[in-house]
């Protein structure tokens, strides 16, 4: 059943790719239909909530028994929120593209392929399977940027590919290390996550962790491995940016909670402070650099680095184990996963809005606009809501996430408060950008700016509605994450 979720988009994508002379409208609706069916299927599989240890929709088939790798998929409390997020984001992308005219069939096929790889990453329970999907997502995104991007798309796509491919190889080295460090040798994630399965020396554990962290940090991305992200976002097509920010970046942070922490708990405890420092630096650096941007997409890209910094900070802080810190650790992990979902929804919306700028005028430059609220009130309204959600105002998902992250992190190590100014800076820069663009007298490119139409409004309503829903009633989401967070923290206790 779960395999259908993973491979249904791929199969439909292949069919679309080989059917020539398909009317664009058919391609659009097939795409949208597939994403909806896929989302529905995940909801069906996970209707019985994931309880503690058992995996939902688990399936294991013999694949490469010679090297201890199998086709093993399953869902738990850490992966379910991300699978649902992936499902929603791809529905939104399909909706957004309903009227796209630039090679619609190929685009639909490519995004369906990309969806398969994302679903695969978040449901894989075998390191090789994880890696297969992880690498294929890079290939898919490369073609999205190179094929449908604008500006210096080829160059940005190449930079993206090279950089993240380097990361994936570091990850592969780490996986091989984990495989050789376990006895009997295996790539199975469930077995590797069992306590004490890694039998190597602490030096080996440290270097394997270093390889994995570098690989994941490039994907996330954190300072100092972030330089591929701004150009990739700037030159990617709108829905490419949305998928990149909302789903692909999560593969990095997901890897921390899925692989790094449970498989190398000892090394994680030893080096947790390094992770915390990286997190704090990412938070502050991302926020400060975002403030200096005049390109709206670059600005959102840097706030992404800032937001991912919170996640890194939280997973690092969760590794700092004290005598009475268990509850704080759990809170940090729960907050981290909530932040992944929240960032996916909010930043997805922000990139859609940024795409509207480009669709209308071809310019992302904030300085080209002014007083936009008058000709485009709906656009202004959504931009305001998304900005508030992004800066973590109560009532939105971001608040729930960041509140838990900070409570949990400061509960384990007091000096994580150093990251707090990040919130203030983000708030300042988003409000400043809003003022610059939407208030004042209508001038420059703002004149005769067309407001959002229905095709654009519906996806934004979905994303912001979910963010508000999580912000107001966080219970159901937290109930999914908490048992898994508890298991993770228990594994970390020496």
């Amino acid at each position: 059943m779960l395999s259908i979720v993973i491979f249904l988009p791929l199969v439909v994508g292949i069919v679309l790719a080989v059917t020539r002379r398909l009317p664009p409208a058919v391609a659009h609706w097939v795409w949208l239909g597939t994403t909806l069916v896929d989302l529905l299927l995940i909801a069906l599989i996970t209707a019985p909530r994931p309880s503690g240890t058992a995996l939902l929709g688990e399936q294991q088939l013999v694949w490469m028994p010679g090297i201890g790798s199998s086709y093993h998929v399953g869902i738990d409390g850490l992966s379910l929120p991300l699978l649902l997020l992936t499902g929603v984001i791809f529905v939104v992308c399909a909706l957004w593209s309903l009227r796209v005219t630039d090679r619609p069939r190929a685009q639909a096929a490519l995004f369906l392929f990309l969806q398969s790889t994302c679903m695969g990453v978040f449901s894989a329970q075998d390191l090789i399977l994880f890696f297969v999907f992880f690498d294929l997502s890079i290939v898919g995104m490369y073609f999205v940027i190179a094929g449908w991007g604008h500006g210096d798309a080829r160059r940005s796509a190449l930079k993206f590919f090279l950089y993240t491919f380097l990361g994936s190889l570091a990850l592969l080295l780490g996986f091989i290390g984990l495989y050789l460090g376990a006895s009997p040798h295996t790539f199975d994630m469930v077995q590797l996550s069992r306590n004490g399965s890694f039998t190597g020396t602490s030096l080996a554990a440290g270097s394997i962790l270093a390889a994995i962290v570098v690989g994941l940090a490039i994907k996330t991305p954190t300072v100092p491995f972030h330089s591929w992200l701004p150009p990739a976002h700037t030159d990617a097509p709108t829905i490419g940016s949305v998928v990149l920010a909302a789903v692909l970046l999560k593969m990095g942070t997901y890897g921390f909670v899925r692989i790094a922490i449970p498989m190398l708990p000892g090394a994680w405890r030893d080096y947790a402070w390094v992770i915390v420092v990286i997190g704090i630096v990412s938070v502050l650096y991302g926020a400060l650099v975002a403030m200096a941007q005049t390109d709206v997409k670059k600005m959102i890209a840097f706030t992404s680095i800032n937001h991912m910094g919170y996640v890194i900070l939280a997973v690092g802080a969760a590794g700092i184990v004290g005598r009475t810190t268990e509850q704080a650790q759990q809170l940090a992990i729960t907050g981290a996963v909530t932040q992944m979902v929240s960032h996916g929804l909010v930043t997805g919306a922000l990139f859609l809005l940024a795409g509207v700028f480009y669709d209308r005028t071809g310019s992302y430059d904030l300085r080209d606009y002014g007083g936009l609220a008058r000709p485009a009130p709906r656009f202004a309204g959504f931009f305001a809501i998304a900005s508030f959600a992004s800066l973590g105002l109560p009532g939105f998902s971001g608040f729930i996430a960041e509140f838990q992250i900070f409570t949990g992190s400061i509960g384990t190590t007091w000096w994580t408060f150093l990251a707090l100014p990040g919130i203030l800076i983000t708030a300042a820069l988003l409000l400043r950008a809003f003022q610059r663009v939407f208030t004042g007298s209508t001038e420059n490119l703002s004149i005769r700016f067309r407001d959002l139409d229905r095709r654009e409004t519906v996806p934004l309503v979905i994303l912001m509605g979910l963010s508000v829903a999580i912000g107001v009633i966080p219970g159901p989401l937290l109930a999914i994450i908490q048992p898994a967070a508890q298991i993770l923290v228990t594994g970390l206790t020496p």
Partner: protein, 470 residues
């Protein structure tokens, strides 16, 4: 161990190829030009029969025949299957190139002999048999490269010939030393005998033999002929000489490394050569704009990865499986890329590939699959080879080599990407329009079939399991 096992029937696969090459040569001399096509079908049939007879011994225990000079085991069996199959693919691919050419039957005979040489090199467990196989595999290559009779081909032939002579002498010197020091030319018992011999002399011998074999494999330092030959010879011949000779040479290297005593750090020597091969090949490939020259350098770098399991062949458990798996996956992938090249005979540089994506979407897909496989992206074939090779090398204590190989993989992505970006580029105004009908049909079908195999091979459990269980 030295019981004289004169089991002639177990040499059936080799005998079939030998007989076929002689018959092809003789019959070809008497057939009129328009009937020469008979030799094509005959050679194809013989290669398939040879591979088929090799399958027959599957599952039987490993043996050494003819007084321990020739091994019938998993590595030999794999090469006995993949080498003739690769040669058969080359002959199919070469429909336009070979059929009706002035020396059609001779070409097939040379291909058959070179294939036979590769199989013998792979099976040899005696230095003298190794030398015989080496010569058998090398000499036909010189003639094959020169077949296209252009000025560049003549230059490439001469270069290959001179390099071959030099490295052949090195190999001969090395194996003379080793035979003299150990008192036997058979691998059986050589390890023990060499352990008590003076280490510097043994080292000199093994260096000579390894470097000599690296000429055949096309790895540093015996690589200089590869890019020239790949560029100047016919496309199908280039596909052959970047694929088949390696198969035997690397297995032979593995057998030798296994035989060497621990008094010399042979694994380190091979590991250093591996690192050099991959780095030199990748760095040189970066600057190429000619497709075949680029692929020539790419094969030099691939030899680097293939040497990784050879280095740790007696240190890591999965090294043999890793080597054989990588060899098979690499052979199929390399042939895939060359099959695509054969679809566009006139388009020599990457710039000429512009616009192919629009006119030939399927072939473009095949290029993407092939290039991604050579990079080692899952789920294509070579990824699984690379995974096995990396794991084996790390397991064998050469962790640094794995890091070098990973860095090289990223480097290689830069030029492999150009392979599949070029088709999407807009062609220059006035470039020749290539319609579907001008693409050779056989080459197209071969490319598509091989592309599908490359994609599926890694996913099929049986492929991996079968090699592992041998």
């Amino acid at each position: 161990m030295t019981v004289t096992n004169m089991n002639y029937t177990s040499l059936l696969p080799e005998v079939v190829i030998l007989a076929a090459s002689v018959i092809t040569l003789l019959v070809g001399s008497y057939l009129p030009r328009n009937r020469q096509i008979f030799t094509r079908w005959f050679s194809l049939g013989a290669l398939i029969v040879s591979a088929g007879t090799a399958v027959l011994v599957l599952g039987q225990p490993s043996t050494e025949i003819f007084s321990g000079t020739y091994a019938i085991d998993a590595p030999t069996t794999v090469i006995r299957i993949i080498a003739p199959v690769s040669a058969a693919i080359v002959i199919v691919l070469g429909r336009e190139e070979f059929v009706g050419s002035a020396r059609e039957s001779e070409t097939y005979a040379l291909l058959l002999l070179a294939t036979l040489g590769t199989v013998v090199v792979a099976g040899a467990t005696d230095l003298l048999v190794l030398m015989a196989g080496y010569l058998l595999a090398s000499i036909p290559l010189y003639a094959l490269i020169g077949l296209s009779r252009t000025a560049r081909a003549a230059e490439a032939t001469l270069k290959t010939y001179l390099m071959g002579a030099l490295f052949g002498v090195l190999l001969l010197a090395g194996l003379t030393l080793l035979t003299g020091l150990s008192g036997t030319s058979s691998y059986t018992g050589m390890t023990g005998a060499l352990a008590h011999a003076p280490a510097p002399a043994v080292a000199a011998g093994i260096v000579g033999v390894i470097i000599g074999l690296l000429f055949k494999a096309g790895g540093v330092p015996g690589h200089f002929w590869v890019p020239d030959a790949a560029e100047a010879s016919g496309i199908s011949v280039a596909a052959f000489l970047t694929t088949v000779p390696k198969l035997g040479a690397l297995v032979a290297l593995a057998r030798l490394v296994m035989t060497m005593p621990t008094t010399i750090d042979v694994p380190l020597l091979v590991a250093v050569l591996a690192a050099l091969s991959m780095s030199v090949g990748n760095l040189a490939a970066l600057a190429q704009s000619n497709v075949r020259r680029l692929l020539g350098w790419s094969t030099v770098s691939q030899v680097g990865y293939l040497l990784m399991p050879v280095a740790v062949i007696s240190l890591a458990k999965g090294a043999t499986t890793a080597l054989l798996a990588y060899l098979v996956f690499y052979a199929i992938t390399n042939l895939t890329i060359f099959a695509v090249v054969a679809c566009f005979p006139g388009r020599d540089t990457l710039a000429h590939w512009a616009g192919i994506a629009k006119s030939h979407p399927w072939l473009t897909g095949t290029i993407i699959i092939g290039a991604l496989s050579l990079v080692g992206t899952p789920p294509t074939a070579v990824f699984f080879g690379k995974l096995a090779v990396f794991t084996a090398a790390w397991d064998g204590g050469q962790g640094w080599l794995v890091v070098v190989a990973a860095a090289n993989t990223v480097l290689s992505l830069v030029y492999y990407l150009r392979l599949f970006v070029s088709p999407f580029q807009r062609p220059n105004a006035g470039a020749p329009e290539i319609s579907r009908s001008t693409v050779p049909r056989t080459a197209r079908a071969t490319a598509l079939a091989l592309g599908a195999t490359t994609l599926l091979l890694g996913l099929v459990t049986a492929a991996f399991g079968a090699i592992g269980s041998l």
